[in-house]
């Protein structure tokens, strides 16, 4: 562990650490553009120059490894002049169109200009200009704003694994482009917007929707595959509108990146016709919109009849890897408490077979976030997924079915005739489920952005997501609907389950591997559930 001083502060960091990283981990900010912790060091922006005692020239802190007794200075007059010089030079050909630039407000060029620039320019000549270009379905390129840090070029080479983006021409004329103006490919394009420290690469999906100071970021987890990338969801303060999803750095899961399926997947939920009202069949008529309490009452009455007729064994809870741990846990708990039922299965368990392996990022093929968590939460499957359920219905063994996340019923085979043999069908859904027309009662469910909760990804890592936006219409978290239903059934202890964490604590108390956990212990990065070796072997 070499010990060095930066601005007089004594610091010990592991051998091989760069000066920039040593400063960063010790709260000393050195401005930089081309350096990115997950990309190769190239040292071309020259913004991170620092003074190192004994060296005649200023050194790029991003590329200089620390050494024992090194003395680094980041705020001398010489360093300040160099920073001002680089800032001035970066801006002489920059359009300074911040008021209409999508990056404005979250732009390193703005921030470092304010923090390290001279605040004025001595350049009086015409600026270099380029035509705005499209780089494919995701990215818009405004070359005028580019500072040629090459983060995007390195991302494509190193993480995406295809050198499809690079500079053409030379010097001040150098221009970012793809060969023959082809579109960018692959499912990692959105990350280019994130790595670009300026407004050169902007997202076609997000641009012009909002300004950063009108937004807030809420920590979340991506629900579009079993990887469970840590994300931030951006919400507009005034309207509560969900604007975009960004990867949130989590070294244990996704590093700095996420895929485009996850990043833009929210459109599939939020651009569709969300189910906003609960519905129920009352008195033999078709489904009609009713208050939630009426829906619960219909479920209660039907349950009572079926139970008296067939007993508790014909009740079946169909959990979902698209629902949270709390949702699945409450389904299992409610079914056991209300009917002493122990029949469970999972919908949407089919693997898409569409894994994508990039050199720096793997996208798994199973496109639901919480298969592991649903099983952990007590959805002990009877047979194999939906196939097992079909057999059971066919044999007349299932007469009442409770379905979580009915809208993500990817296993559905259009078995309307078969499903008619079920007398009570309760569906929790975000969008209309394919089973919707057959339902006895439907409850509008809150999306992952609209509630707190946890999911357990393919590694067995339990991660939290936070409520960022208001639920659509009368939508309610599925765990909470099950709590309310339990109350209608007069079940013991349901009154006390007020928050998602209450359900989680019950889950933790009864689930091996989750013992002793609560939301604060899970934190931002999640924790691995403790698994017995025997369980691992299985």
């Amino acid at each position: 562990m070499p010990t060095l001083t930066i601005d007089g502060k004594e610091i010990s960091v592991p051998k091989g650490t760069t000066v920039l990283e040593a400063a960063k981990t010790n709260g000393i900010h050195i401005p930089h553009y081309c350096y990115h912790p997950a990309l190769a060091v190239v040292g071309n922006c020259r913004m991170c120059l620092v003074k190192i005692e004994g060296m005649p020239k200023l050194q790029t802190s991003c590329s200089t490894a620390v050494a024992e007794n090194m003395k680094v200075f980041t705020k001398t007059d010489e360093v300040r002049k160099a920073q001002q010089g680089v800032m001035e030079l970066l801006l002489i050909n920059h359009p300074l169109d911040c008021p209409v630039c999508d990056q404005g407000g979250e732009c390193d060029l703005q921030d470092f200009s304010y923090g390290y620039g001279a605040g004025k320019s001595r350049y009086e000549f015409e600026k270099q200009t380029f035509v705005e270009r499209s780089l494919g379905p995701v990215i818009k390129l405004n070359m005028n704003r580019c500072i040629r840090c090459t983060r995007c070029v390195r991302f494509c080479q190193e993480v995406r694994g295809k050198a499809e983006l690079d500079f053409f021409y030379r010097g001040q004329h150098s221009e970012l482009a793809t060969y023959d103006n082809q579109e960018l490919t692959g499912a990692l394009q959105g990350n280019l917007v994130d790595v670009c420290p300026v407004g050169a690469l902007t997202s076609k999906d997000y641009r012009f929707k909002s300004r950063p100071w009108d937004n807030r970021d809420v920590k979340s987890v991506c629900p579009f595959c079993e990887k469970g990338c840590s994300t931030d969801i951006t919400v507009k303060w005034r309207t509560g509108q969900l604007l975009r999803t960004k990867p949130r750095y989590n070294p244990d899961v996704n590093g700095h990146w996420m895929c485009d399926h996850g990043r833009f997947g929210y459109h599939a939920i939020f651009d569709g016709q969300r189910v906003q009202k609960s519905e129920a069949t009352i008195g033999g008529a078709g489904l009609s919109v009713v208050p939630r309490e009426k829906a619960y009452a219909a479920v209660y009455e039907a349950s009572k009849r079926i139970r008296e007729r067939d007993g508790g064994s014909v009740f079946f809870g169909l959990g979902s890897p698209h629902a949270s741990n709390e949702d699945n846990f409450m389904l299992a708990k409610f079914m056991k408490d209300a009917f002493q039922c122990a029949h469970f299965g999972l919908n949407a368990t089919e693997d898409s077979g569409e894994a994508e392996d990039y050199p720096g990022f793997k996208i798994p093929s199973f496109k639901a976030p919480n298969l592991q968590g649903a099983r952990d939460a007590g959805i002990t499957e009877q047979g194999v997924g939906y196939a097992g359920l079909r057999t059971a219905i066919g044999k007349g063994e299932v007469k009442a079915l409770f379905v979580l996340a009915g809208n993500r019923f990817s296993d559905w085979r259009g078995d309307f005739e078969l499903m008619k043999r079920v007398d009570l069908l309760v569906i929790f859904e975000l969008l209309p489920s394919p089973l919707h027309p057959l339902a006895t009662a439907t409850i509008p469910a809150a999306a992952w952005t609209e509630t707190d909760g946890t999911m357990t990804n393919m590694q067995g890592r339990i991660q939290r997501f936070w409520r960022g936006v208001d639920p659509a219409g009368d939508a309610i978290p599925q765990w909470q609907a099950l709590v309310e239903l339990g109350q209608r059934f007069g079940l013991q202890g349901y009154q006390q389950l007020k928050r998602a964490e209450d359900a989680f604590k019950l889950l933790a108390a009864s689930t091996p591997g989750y013992a002793g956990l609560d939301y604060s212990k899970i934190g931002d990065r999640g924790v691995l559930r403790v698994v017995e070796e025997a369980a691992l072997a299985r």
Binding site: G43, N44, R46, M47, T60, V86, N93, G171
Partner: protein, 427 residues
Amino acid sequence: MEATLIKHIGHTAFRDIDTFVQGGGYRAVEKAFGMRPEEVTEAVKSSGLRGRGGAGFSAGMKWSFVPKESQLPKYLCCNADESEPGTFKDRQIVEYEPHLLVEGIIICCYAVGIHSAYIYIRGEFAYGAEVLENAIAQAYSRNYLGRDILGKGFDLDVTVHRGAGAYICGEETALLESLEGKRGQPRLKPPFPAVVGLFNGPTVINNVETLAAIPSIINNGADWYAAIGPERNRGTKLFSVSGHVVKPGVYEMPLGTNLLALINDCCGGIRPGRTLKAVIPGGASASVLRAEECNISLDFDSLAKAGSMLGSGGAIVMDDSTCMVKVAHTASRFFYEESCGKCTPCREGIGWVEKLFRRLESGGGRETDLALISDICDNVKGKTLCPFGEAFSAPLDTFVKKFREEFLEHVRQKRCPFGNPPPDPVH
């Protein structure tokens, strides 16, 4: 003094291997093969030969930095990307002494344990590349190259690679990138090429003139070479003299030759009726010397002491008809066109400076432009990724400082006092 580097300049006969061998060629290879590789490196080290590409680093030292054992193949890259304005010396070796270069390459590779050498030649030297190709083919046919050279168990392949026309590819790491088929842009150092170079293997990069000096060192001994020229600046050097002299051309002279002697004795002096005004002594990236500074020894150390550099030895001589603002603008325009664009200060700085020089030469400049140019140069100097930043910031700043009065005259008269028209627009 007998020329060793361009003995046969103007005589195409020595491109033929038989003529070359009859004249004593390839003897140094045989002699070197009788020595241990370390002895060869030691001889080059003690000869005092300093790299002729511009930086003047000890050639023997450079060789000794290459690790003896390497998992990856080691390489030699001969830098024939001669692009420095005012420099045309390597071209003479390539075109008239190609076998001397090949001989030097074989000896270097033997000394360092290299079995694969590349000659990176500037794209515009198509003719020179052809000459080299022919010479190499002949060397293969006589088993000076190829497998088991001269039955001594040493293998060597030499490949000629033509560049695509970028000045920056003369910078050693940009040369490597270009040779690997990538965009010709410099790499961050360290690691240095001697450790991580071409295709990540340890790599020696030597200038044409450096390698061409090796055979005579081996033939005549390190002591013979070390006796030429002043302390720390040994051997002969090729000087490409251009500009307002009676006989411009390439001259081989010992290091330490006086600049005025070079101009007057070799080149027949300044053209009649004119007087010396200034000399750029080492290619466009060397700082200009005023006439009164030209009584100077042409060696690495003396010129560095005078705030300039020997560089490539390309002396651009200017008489009193020359507008120094126009010279500065022309130089800045060259650098503007050739900046690779990788790092900020160089890419942006040179474009700005070029515009300021253009405005001054066109008569639209202001007095404050001079301080601004100096300050921009200061913001570039020492802050760039590769030496290109120094290569333009130091000499351009020097023009402003040394010829301030002439710049101010342009400002006052609002035109070029020498009657030059405004510069052509850059594309």
